[in-house]
Subunit: 118 residues, 2 copies
Amino acid sequence: MPRAVLHVCTTCRRGDPVEDAPRPGALLLAALQAEGLPEGVELRGVECLSACSNGCAVALSAAGKWSYVYGNLDPVLHAPAILEGAAAYAQAADGLVPWRQRPEIFRKQSLARIPPQE
Amino acid sequence: MPRAVLHVCTTCRRGDPVEDAPRPGALLLAALQAEGLPEGVELRGVECLSACSNGCAVALSAAGKWSYVYGNLDPVLHAPAILEGAAAYAQAADGLVPWRQRPEIFRKQSLARIPPQE
């Protein structure tokens, strides 16, 4: 099965007005790296997922699968659940994980999904 | 260049509580079909883009390009601008259309973008 890519917006501010502090998006990327990645999941930082009103934001995509974007994420608290959801996504042939097997943040904080490319 | 696919959520309610009326998402799909499609753009209806709080919603994607999702669209007024933006997207090798060449709704109503799949 193709690897699932978990993109993390590193420039998300999450409403944080402090210029000199690390961006919440960068903190989320670091928190995910620290957790250790599930099998079949690759982690990539990206500058801006254009979800600026709903940061922190992440995207899951893989060849032949639906893509998903989630937002309003906490850069520390939500890292374990994001990886749990990414692991289930990586195992799902079309990317469609049964509803009850999705972590709560994936059920409630979807910003969008996009059908697979052909 | 690969064809760009413009997915339109046909189940978007856009806050409309009327059960028996056609869904605003279905009206948007019909409005886009009536306009006539630009070269290199394919139109597809899809049941739910998981952007339910920000409907009407559309997604643009193509092999090797960034994908985009736009929301809070008007099912009638915005159809011409959506197609204008889709035409520019179809012509852009990586899907990244220069900022000033994007219609205003694409500049201001992005829900998310996702990097290209490899």
